[in-house]
Amino acid sequence: MVESSYWKRFNKRVSRRTLLGGSAALALGAASAALVGCNGGTNGNGGNGDTSGAPSPAAAGTPRLGGHITLGRGVASLGIDPHVDLTGLDIDALVYSYLYSWRTGTEEIVLNNLAEKFEQPDEEHLEFIFTLRPGVKIHPGGPGAGEEMTSEDCVASFERRGTALTAPDKRFPHRIERYETPDPYTFKFVMKRPFVPAVREMANATWAIVPKKVIDANPNGLSQVAFGSGPFKLEEFRGQEKIVLRKHEDYFLKPRPWLDSMTNIVITENSSLLAAFKGGQHDVNGALLSKSNADDLKSDDNFIIIRTPSFFYPVIHLKMREPFENIKVREAINLALNRDEIINVIQQGEGEYNPPIQWAQTKWALPQAEVRAFYKHDPDRARALLAEADLPNGFSAKMKLPKLTGPSIVGDIAALVKDQLGRVGINIELDEVELGAFISSTLLPGNFHMAFFPNLPYDEPDRPLAFYHSKGVTGNGNWTNYSNKELDQLVDEQSEEFDEVKRKDIILKAQRLILAQHGPQLTLTGGYNYQARWNYVHFGTELTGEEPPKDAGPFGADIWVDK
């Protein structure tokens, strides 16, 4: 095995740290929120958050058993089938077990759940062997209640995740050649080809390990029911109103979870959601907070505010036909864009430039200095380039964007972009299309000259790069008709390179190639997310970047209150 592989670190973590977690779930939950409501992709995890307000979680004292919290939630959950539904992944992360967790920001893999040991004996990284923790029991009240989770459950879950019709991104499961279960506590699978993103994928909330008996007993799906082995069991699910979770008394990390219960209240109106938090009806804020909202809350000692880099990812997509197939036109657009103005006007002065991989993926994104040096704002040069492209008077184009519910940040950025491009003679007509129509009539058939929408807030570099691959993110083709064999090769290479150092080199090279091409996607800027809670609610260390205690549980299991 190569020296700098993910799995080296994985095994090191096993020996000195037991648990941490659930972060992947929050990231994907936020991703779905961003898609549904353009909420900017609350990261909700990671090791790089700033805490302000009352006492830091680390100094908060000894956890106490008991209590209840109410969490605000801005996006309705249509279903909680972890393998299919994207709008309930934060709930799934509390109800189900996972093989392990992934600490966004530090990108550490930690065994906090079912797997207590991992082996990858082959140099090609094709075999994955997990030793499962004994004594992880299924929730009471459903199929297999009280029984232990076994390798059969892992196989059933992986197979379901890989074959369910509406399951997202199946590139990883499609590469799995076979599963093996030598005994109840050993789960093994063998890949046809190496696939590095699989490491991140298995920690994501759509890869929940659902008991096989629960799967078999619910052939119509798990959209409205849930029986897992996680720290909380589902007591009531009304995804558009409220979701109630109760402590799993037989959780393997007793006495965790500390809380007796938690309730998610769905309020889709952001200002109402914020008022409910400030008014004390919610213990944990669910509203999207702007910088000014966060500053306002910071002035009150009753609240704890955490700032995390945003994976929110607004992008201009250019169709590779006249005039955008001319690189001079694409460069002119880039030069006409004033990214500092976007940061100042839209993000209230707080943000960074996004290279092809968002800046928040600090490990993989091009250095900020390099990106800022490249993305110069130079309207005069932009006009000159347009003239060189035989467009001395500029041109007109329609930019399509989806009409999303929730705060209007996408529309706001689009309006500013229109204004900036107009200053160099590129007259943009904004065509805001209802989301369903946008996907079916604009995006999938590639029916646009320019399109503007946020990509999902990915926290792994493979997916952002896949947008530039000639096969696109779906594997069926690139929406922008862009094709670059050299780039295709780099994107493919990085997805099979387990050596982190080598992979990073490839990824940086790919980004520089994309920058030089000025498209087909023009990335803009990214900012921060703010989370807020009342100061009597204590989270684990997953948001602070501090070293978690050895017996720390997955997210949710470590929340406690001293109210």
């Binding site: 309705a76 994207l86 409205q224 995804g239 209240i265 889709t268 200002s271 008022a275 009806q281 369903g436």
Partner: protein, 318 residues
């Protein structure tokens, strides 16, 4: 009268058929469907077709419509085609009481606010009271529902530390806890009511001014009746006919307004349900709710017509 009512109720059938067919056809014309949204940004043609097939969305439109209609006749309004796949009737059981209570409270509040103010304005024309009433009505007409709702919530929290109880708990029926229930519905109903109250106020004023000039009112004055008797007993009953008409017609506008107010105040009623269903292209949910809204609208108009006969004995329906 009975024949008239029966005839009007029978008229519901073609109206509701027309409305449902129109809704269905509109959904066919607009781009995108529930399968597209379920499939999402990373969709492929194969998966999209498979989802459509699984939900029966790839069948001819008349088959889909016929199946749904047959289900309606058997009391089955179909299932959501979103991920939840919940039966529409299950959701309606929970949500109809909420919207029903909101609408009833709104109508009551708008009448309480609008009629007395309109009467006072009419019997004291061109006085400061009249000017104040007229100014208030214009103000109330101008205020958007969502803005007033957000103001109430924001300043309620800021000044009084109060937020509506439904921000932290579900709907509480009136019979379970009247106090909580009133806290849940008072302000949403007030927000919806002010616009209608303003219309009622202005209409009552003009109708009263007209009626007060009639001979029988002059006769009542000359008989030496007290002002209260003349106004409330003789004038108002006759002035109310146009007011009742407009109030009945407002039911349609109220259903539209409830969509916004339910979202702002987090009342999980039918208005919020239909908005979410439209955004998700959830055909059978929208179809069924449109049918219900059409029925409510037609029946409320029937109720208005019947109220005429009660208010004015000269009106008789053959």
């Amino acid at each position: 009268m009975r024949d008239y009512i029966i005839r009007r109720v029978f008229l519901l059938v073609p109206i509701m058929l027309g409305v449902s067919l129109l809704t269905f056809l509109i959904f066919r014309v607009i781009p995108g469907d529930a399968a597209v949204l379920t499939c999402g940004f990373g969709c492929t043609d194969e998966v999209l077709e498979a989802i459509r097939h699984e939900n029966g969305l790839d069948r001819p439109w008349y088959e889909q419509y016929g199946d749904w209609l047959w289900g309606v006749l058997r009391g089955d309004l179909g299932e959501s085609v979103s991920e939840s796949q919940l039966p529409v009737t299950t959701e309606l059981d929970r949500r109809l009481p909420i919207t029903g209570e909101l609408l009833i409270m709104t109508i009551i509040m708008s009448l309480i606010l609008g009629v007395p103010a309109g009467v006072l304005s009419a019997i004291r024309p061109n006085t400061p009271l009249d000017w104040l009433t007229r100014f208030t009505s214009v103000l109330w007409l101008s205020i958007p529902h969502f803005w007033l709702g957000i103001l109430i919530i924001t300043f309620g929290a800021l000044w009084f530390g109060w937020t509506p109880p439904q921000f932290g708990q579900s709907y509480v029926p009136f019979m379970d806890d009247p106090w909580i229930n009133m806290q849940q519905f008072f302000f949403p109903a007030l927000v919806l009511a002010v616009g209608i109250a303003a219309t009622i106020m202005r209409l009552t004023r003009s109708a009263m001014l007209e009626v007060m000039r009639n001979d029988y009112i002059r006769t009542a004055w000359s008989k030496g009746l007290r002002e209260r008797t003349v106004v409330w007993r003789h004038a108002l009953k006759n002035a109310l006919i146009p007011v009742i008409t407009v109030t009945g017609l407002q039911v349609g506008a109220l259903i539209g307004g409830s969509v916004i107010v339910e979202s702002v105040f987090n009342l999980n009623g039918v208005g919020k349900y239909v908005l979410e269903a439209i955004l998700r292209r959830d055909l059978f949910v929208v179809q069924s709710l449109t049918l219900i809204f059409a029925a409510v609208y037609v029946l409320s108009n029937l109720a208005v017509d019947l109220a005429y006969a009660w208010l004015d004995p000269r009106i008789r329906y053959a």
